[in-house]
């Protein structure tokens, strides 16, 4: 695999320009609904319960009157069956983290078993983490083999590969990890677990878009991008849509190829949607949460 060189200065400059695009009027309305439709509404806490997940599922199916459903509900493996039951008659997918999320530091057999079990319990999508220890030790082949093994274990389920960019140390390393995940058969590459302070930034999203674009050009296979962690405002979400739009093209502006993993973003999207429709900001209490 050719090592791709990345330089921070112009990468960050370009990313900053893209997320500062001015998204107004019809584009803003379309962008808000698109961001909702591309959302993996997520709860990944130790205190998650079936009741909490059922509430989240109901909200994901119908966030508010006239609002599109989200793309998926993302939970821990133990809650997959609950989510699958709650989402059974909807278009919303069940996504489960797996492979010893968030560290990924378990034996491969354990990770594969967790993946198989989550799919068997009803997960349509698996969000795996790469083994950053292996990556940083320079054992790139092994990282790729593990991802490929998890890909096999997923069967028909969609595989999202979390790079956990905040632990990789440089844009060039992120690009390299991304290239490995793409070659190993990822259906989506995903920035982060959301458990670290550094998760998704415009420059990180851009360097991953560039990897996806180059891979599609070389192989003809279109891989999706999932941004997770720290995206809380409509403005940020619209900025990322513009970045994807201008780097990967409008074909990527769909839940098949783009996701935003978030828990609180939906509140702001609904409030902005309301503001756009009525001209007024509503209080947060007018947005039903879960």
């Amino acid at each position: 695999m050719r090592r791709v060189r990345v330089d921070a200065v112009m990468l960050e400059a370009r990313a900053a320009t893209l997320v500062k695009r001015s998204i107004k009027a019809s584009a803003k309305r379309a962008g808000i609904d698109l961001a909702i439709a591309c959302m993996d509404l997520t709860t990944l806490e130790g205190k998650d319960t079936p009741a909490k997940v059922r509430g989240l599922c109901a909200r994901g199916i119908a966030p508010a009157p006239g609002v599109p459903s989200v793309a998926a509900i993302c939970v821990y493996p133990n809650l997959v069956a609950t989510a699958a039951a709650a989402l059974a008659h909807s278009s919303v997918k069940v996504a489960s983290v797996a492979t010893a999320f968030p560290s990924g530091l378990s034996p491969l057999e354990t990770k594969l078993r967790e993946t198989v079990d989550a799919v068997a319990a009803g997960a349509d999508e698996i969000d795996m983490v790469i083994d950053r220890g292996l990556f940083l030790a320079g054992r790139y082949g092994q990282v790729q083999d593990e991802i490929a093994a998890v890909r096999d274990a997923c069967g028909r389920a969609t595989l999202k590969v979390i790079l956990e960019v905040g632990e990789l140390g440089s844009y060039e390393a992120i690009r390299r990890a991304c290239d490995i995940a793409l070659a190993a058969g990822a259906d989506f590459v995903k920035t982060a677990t959301g458990k670290l302070p550094i998760s998704s930034t415009p420059a990180i999203a851009l360097v991953m878009c560039e990897a996806i674009r180059d891979y599609a050009r070389q192989t003809g296979r279109d891989v999706g991008l999932k941004l997770a962690g720290g995206i809380r405002s409509t403005k940020a979400a619209l900025g990322y849509l513009a970045l994807v739009n201008e780097t990967l093209g409008p074909a990527w502006l769909s839940p098949d190829r783009f996701r935003i993993g978030a828990s609180s973003l939906l509140d702001d999207l609904l409030m902005q949607r309301d503001k756009d429709a009525t001209g007024n900001y509503s209080a947060a209490t007018y947005v039903a949460s879960a």
Partner: protein, 483 residues
């Protein structure tokens, strides 16, 4: 329920023009007052995106220039040279503050008058112009640290500043800020097609309570500039513009005690080695040649690519070109706005035609420009030979010429094989190769893995036919002191 992709096509996002209030007619700003030109002649300043007249501007004759230089001399003798440096600093600082407060107005005005995208005037021109005043305010009472001794910090006197149309307010600031900080007074002559921000700047000087005559603004065409150059009571001419005019200024000032600084044309090389970070290099190329529609003296207009990667670079650049957004300069999402004037547009078209005629391959995004206004789409040429006009002459438009090299030695030789020497770019992942190349490029500025980075503390200027003298930093201060 998934929204369709077509809906996300960016809706128009126009910057409001409400912050700008233009007068119907502008006089000359001389001795702290607005005065009518002696012979009453005016000309129209137009919006190059619509061809509409924005305002009538006075045409300063030699008599008006004389009046302005006298006012500047009076201001120098009566106020400015007597003022304690710390007091001078306060005035320069005050100008910076007023400009900051009026930043949006200046950005919109620059875009209306010159055609550049509001994104650039808002994020680059005006903040940079303001930064020059802030920076130089700090120097005014510390000049002894910039030169070798306190006895050598005498100002020159009256400075004639002649600026071009591409960065009207910014280049005026490059000259006025250090001139004032060093204790000189100024007569500013903005470009014929872009006088409005200079006139608004005169208002800023008044608002900052600058004593009369310290900054004077005379508008007009080349003859106004010539009258300024030839005026016997000018101590220094600082000019940014074409090499042709620069040469005539040197001829006109030869044998006089006038000091001269010239920042002239360029045909800057942008060298990409095969180990470069390619996606960023592509962004660098775009920044180098399509920034301000290529109306940039240091534009990286000659791309030299290592032969082994030229096809990949061309393919990536072709794909990137398709995402450049042409259109209304006032739209916040526009990347390339209008060409500054009809004459400039025609010159670009002529040079592009010469490239086609000589045998180069033109790549252009299909784009239908608006019926009115002056436009030219982002373009590049492949199959360019170093002898072609498009490889030798400054186009001053969004047109790039791509050539190849095989070795670092050849890259350096080709980059330097031009009468100009303003800027250059080097792209490689090897620090050693970057330094090796940078040391051998004959250019006033060499950027490594970036392009068009500016800061008031960093000197800018050229070699060979790109001029002499530096603007910015300590080197720039010396140019306004009698050292």
């Amino acid at each position: 329920m998934t929204p369709t992709v077509a809906d996300f096509g960016y809706a128009p996002a126009l910057e409001s023009t409400a912050s700008v209030s233009l007068r119907e007619r502008y006089g000359l700003f001389i001795g702290g007052e607005w005065v009518a030109p002696a012979d009453g002649r005016t000309f129209a300043s137009t919006n190059p995106a619509t061809e509409e007249t924005l305002a009538l501007v006075s045409s300063a004759s030699a008599a008006d220039v004389d009046r302005a230089v006298r006012a500047a001399r009076r201001g120098y003798e009566k106020y400015w040279r007597k003022l304690r440096p710390a007091e001078r600093a306060k005035y320069v600082y005050r100008i910076a503050r007023v400009m900051s407060e009026r930043a949006r107005e200046f950005a919109v005005l620059e875009t209306l008058d010159g055609g550049k995208p509001i994104r650039e005037s808002r994020d680059f021109d005006i903040p940079q112009a303001t930064a020059h005043f802030f920076y130089h305010a700090g120097w005014a009472d510390k000049l002894a640290w910039a030169v070798t001794g306190p006895e050598r910090t005498r100002p020159l006197g009256v400075v004639g500043a002649i600026v071009p149309f591409n960065f009207p307010l910014l280049i005026a600031a490059w000259k006025i800020a250090p001139a004032l900080a060093c204790g000189n007074t100024v007569v500013l002559k903005p470009a014929e097609t872009t006088p409005l921000t200079a006139l608004a700047f005169a208002d800023v000087c008044a608002e900052a309570d600058l004593p009369p005559g310290i900054v004077n603004v005379v508008t007009g065409d080349g003859s106004t500039g010539a009258a300024l150059v030839e005026h016997p009571d000018i101590d220094k001419i600082t000019f940014t513009g074409s090499t042709e005019v620069g040469k005539s200024i040197l001829r006109a000032t030869a044998g006089t005690p006038k000091r001269v600084a010239l920042e002239l044309g360029g045909k800057s090389a942008f060298v990409v080695y095969d180990d470069a970070p390619l996606d960023q290099a592509i962004e660098g190329i775009v920044a180098a040649i399509y920034f301000n529609a290529g109306h940039v003296c240091c534009a990286g207009s000659r791309l030299l690519v290592q032969e082994s990667i030229v096809e990949e670079v061309v393919e990536r650049l072709r794909a990137r070109l398709a995402t450049i957004r042409h259109g209304d300069p006032l739209d916040k999402n526009t990347d390339i706005g209008a060409i500054n004037s009809r004459a400039q547009r025609d010159r670009i078209a002529d040079l592009v035609q010469s490239g086609v005629d000589e045998g180069a391959t033109l790549v252009q995004v299909p784009w239908t420009p608006p019926e009115r206004g002056y436009w030219y789409p982002a373009s590049f040429f492949t199959n360019v030979q170093p002898t072609y006009r498009i490889a030798r002459e400054e186009i001053f438009g969004p047109v790039l010429s791509i050539m190849t090299f095989r070795t670092p030695g050849e890259a350096i030789e080709r980059a330097n094989n031009i009468p100009y020497g303003l800027a250059a770019g080097v792209w490689t992942s090897s620090g050693a190769l970057a330094l090796y190349t940078a040391q051998r490029l004959a250019a006033g500025v060499v950027w490594c893995n970036t392009f068009n980075q500016f800061d008031p503390s960093s000197p800018f200027g050229g070699m060979k036919e790109s001029g002499f003298g530096r603007e910015g930093g300590i080197a720039g201060l010396r140019a306004y002191l009698d050292t």
